[in-house]
């Protein structure tokens, strides 16, 4: 029976990809291990190897097709003695090819629709002509749809152009173009002196970064993921964060430690941890955790200029998402200024980083039921714009916080404490701090889903605090 070759999943987060190139044509013999096609994911172009042997009977998805969903049949392999005429006999499906193509078009369309959680058009309420609290860029500025990945790269490139002392260091940042392609193109533009591949030695190169900062440079240290920064924890806390204080103000440490933080997809306990609450605890550090591409860009530029050590927590799942970024020569976002992502009157939902997707999604659902949520994106956790939260709670009298990290000692618990002390008289319900579950991240798909915080849980928590 002819075997269908299916579009493979080539990364933990891949759902669809581009069939960039066929390296075999119809009629070619294929043996296992042969590279038959090149497939582009959002991160990279990958070679696709044959597993079975046979003859390539028919190509179902032409090269150049974008948005091919994982597991879509892309070709048919014939075993010895079979001919192309056998294709489709058993499935009684005259034109598998054209069907595959229609499917692709569909997914193309959905791809271009704005994401459900696009912050600007979040709801009719947000569209109402209320003056924004503090606009991040002047009205009328041209904006460009940009991925978080590109925004981060642009921020680094712009700062490197402006300041010779800025350099990037980390594992696979140069020749490989970044394990998650955040430093793509930087080696070409700035050369090996300023874009530096390190051996796998986090504790060592974090410390070298700290020393270089003491010595007058402005390092950007990339951790392939923040899980590996635990190897470097001593240098980050004991050396970077505390030296200014210990030296009586003489010796600052202008360094940025950045990389993806939190759960990706199915990478299990040692690779799926949100460190927001950990770093937020440390005096001497600043901590940013952006959600949108504009914030990623504006905050990273501020972080690089900051004379203090900054922990910059990104998220692998957000890297590929697009948001509007203003087209400006020098666009920055200050630390310590929250963003009102959606205005509302019934409840305040506070989040940051990927938690914002759940918060905004929940706000949509709640709006359908007539519950009008205000959603605050903290953007930076240290300094934290607690004024924005208090101001909002004085209006809504209720608050739910959303984060991916663990419950005990969470960011939400800190906010709850602040509200207890400073807005007690305005609260009409106990604050609910929603977090990931109190367990190491499991690998199994069903358990991982349970371990993460969800939009449904946000909806449920809001119903609790609004008694509706």
């Amino acid at each position: 029976m002819p075997t269908e070759i299916l579009m493979p999943a080539l990364s933990p987060t891949m759902e669809e990809g581009t069939l960039a190139k066929w390296l075999k044509k119809e009629g070619d013999t294929v043996s296992s291990g042969d590279i038959i096609a090149e497939i582009e994911t959002d991160k990279a172009t990958m070679e696709f190897e044959a597993v079975d042997e046979g003859t390539l009977g028919r190509i179902l998805v032409e090269e150049g097709t974008e948005g091919v969903k994982v597991n879509t049949p892309i070709a048919v392999l014939l075993e010895e003695g079979e001919s192309a005429d056998d294709i489709g006999k058993e499935e009684a499906q005259p034109s598998g090819g054209s069907e595959a193509k229609t499917e692709v078009k569909e997914s193309d369309k959905t791809d271009k629709a704005p994401p459900a959680d696009a912050p600007v058009a979040a709801s009719p309420a947000a569209a109402a002509p209320k003056p924004p609290r503090t606009p991040d860029w002047p009205e009328g500025t041209e904006v460009k749809s940009t991925t978080v990945r590109e925004a981060l790269r642009d921020a680094m490139a712009e700062e490197m152009r402006g300041d010779e002392g800025v350099f990037v260091m980390g594992e696979e940042v140069a020749e490989y173009q970044g394990a998650y392609k955040i430093t793509q193109g930087l080696l070409d533009e700035f050369g090996a002196k300023r874009v530096i591949d390190t051996p796998i030695t986090e504790h060592g190169f974090a410390g070298i970064g700290v020393g270089a900062a003491f010595g007058g440079l402005k390092p950007i240290v990339e951790f392939m993921t923040f899980n590996f920064a635990m190897q470097a924890m001593d240098q980050i806390i004991n050396s970077a964060a505390k030296t200014l204080y210990m030296s009586g103000g003489q010796m600052g440490c202008p360094i940025v430690f950045r990389g993806p933080n939190g759960a990706a997809a199915r990478v299990a306990a040692q690779h799926s941890q949100d460190y927001a609450a950990w770093y937020m605890q440390v005096p001497g550090l600043k901590v940013a955790m952006p959600y949108t591409a504009a914030d990623a860009k504006g905050l990273l530029k501020s972080a690089i200029r900051d004379p203090n050590p900054v922990i910059f927590l990104e998220n692998e799942i957000l890297y590929g998402r697009s948001f509007d970024v203003p087209v400006m020569d020098d666009f920055t976002i200050p630390f310590g200024k929250a963003r009102i992502a959606r205005e509302g009157t019934d409840v305040t939902i506070v989040s940051f980083g990927i938690g914002m997707s759940y918060a905004l999604q929940a706000a949509e659902t709640l709006a359908e039921d007539g519950i009008d949520a205000e959603v605050i994106d903290l953007r930076t956790l240290r300094p934290m714009d607690t004024d924005a939260i208090i101001e909002s709670v004085k209006k809504t009298n209720r608050c739910v916080t959303v984060e991916e990290g663990w419950p005990q000692g969470s960011v939400g618990d800190y906010i709850t404490g602040v509200l207890m002390r400073e807005a007690f008289d305005w609260l009409d319900a106990p604050v609910i701090s929603l977090t990931g579950k109190d367990v190491p991240m499991p690998y199994a798909a069903n358990l991982e889903k349970l371990a993460l915080v969800t939009a449904d849980e946000v909806v449920e928590a809001v119903r609790k605090v609004t008694y509706r």
Partner: protein, 340 residues
């Protein structure tokens, strides 16, 4: 200090040779199937295949005795199969199912078996190195003559904790064999781009640890070197380092575009140095096995792998209450005041 290259080839029986062939082939076919299941979305996250490196674990397991321990990185499927863990349980862990070695909670990178003395499956590069020395510490403390095989990569070999461990292992004469699986790349970084020291095993000299380089594409050479290392440890002479030169055919993980080396480089290794093919040739040219015999082995392995794949698809997802189990060990004896 011994500075030998490949160890002299030991005499092995035709049966032993066939066993190594079978075990290496089992790993290769297992990994090919895992790659396929990953492509179908049945395996998620990171999945690091061992194809090309099979002779390393098969050779060293041939030098191990019952009760010896092993610990390694996330590239662990081969180690588990070689120490006798069930392909069904390994594959079902890859698909995140109840029948997996960690009930689906660990995945590709994190599996363990007390029964087979396999201590994981570790995701943080080089974290397993001090752990391996710690296992050896426990054996020495308990007064048994077990040896621990501690596997790590060329990339891991640059981590600081490796050298902290070397120092203590030699200081305390711990029975640990440090196995550096030098497959020449750490993700996209070739060894030349991460160190200027000419060899990894020689770094042990700074701490007084003996070692040698081994041809990791030759299962018999690996076995001979392993026997020597194990004898050294069991004699109470402390740790030993084996730098095993090997090669991974596939990308670092499933999502590695592998642009840092040429297709020709990989193909040349496959064509000229393949560890399975060379044993196959040994068997055929020495008239130890016929084409038919080998076909029968191939068929047998294919069945084992298909059975494992079926099991890994049919085994149910873990029960939802498993989310909350295994966070703490139970049954802590308490003093009287607490119990009362």
């Amino acid at each position: 200090m011994a500075t030998r290259k490949a160890a002299a080839k030991p005499n092995v029986s035709a049966d032993e040779l066939k066993t190594y062939y079978r075990e290496m082939l089992l790993i290769r076919r297992f990994e090919e199937k895992a790659g396929q299941l990953y492509g179908m979305g049945l395996i998620g996250g990171f999945c690091h295949l061992y194809i090309g490196q099979e002779a390393v674990v098969v050779g060293l397991e041939a030098a191990a005795d019952e009760g010896d321990k092993r610990v390694t990185s996330y590239r662990d499927h081969g180690h588990m199969l070689a120490c006798g863990m069930d392909p069904k349980g390994v594959m079902a862990e890859l698909t995140g199912r109840e029948g997996g070695y960690s009930k689906g909670k660990g995945g590709s990178m994190h599996m363990f078996s007390r029964e087979k003395h396999f201590y994981g499956g570790h995701g943080i590069v080089a974290a397993q190195v001090p752990i391996g020395a710690g296992l050896a510490f426990a054996d020495k403390y308990l007064g048994n003559d077990r040896v621990t095989f501690t596997y790590f990569g060329d990339g891991a070999a640059n981590q600081g904790q490796v050298y902290e461990t070397y120092n203590m292992a030699e200081l305390w004469d711990l029975p640990v064999v440090f196995v550096i699986e030098n497959n020449q790349y750490a993700m996209g970084t070739s060894t030349k781009r991460s160190t200027k020291s000419p060899s990894y095993w020689e770094r042990g000299a700074a701490y007084g640890i003996e070692g040698e380089e081994v041809d990791g594409m030759d299962v018999l050479a690996v076995k001979a070197a392993g026997e020597k290392a194990v004898a050294h440890c069991r004699a109470g002479k402390g740790p030993y380092i084996l730098e095993v030169k090997t090669y991974r055919y596939r990308g670092h993980s499933m999502s590695d575009p592998a642009k840092y080396r040429t297709r020709e480089e990989v193909q040349k290794m496959r064509d000229e140095r393949d560890p399975i093919e060379s044993v196959r040739q040994l068997l055929l040219t020495g008239n130890h096995a016929s084409e038919e015999d080998l076909k029968a082995i191939d068929k047998e392995i294919k069945d084992v792998i298909n059975e494992a794949a079926e099991f890994s698809k049919e085994s149910p997802e873990p029960g939802l209450d498993e989310l909350w189990t295994d966070i703490y060990a139970k049954d802590i004896p308490q003093g009287e005041a607490v119990e009362a």
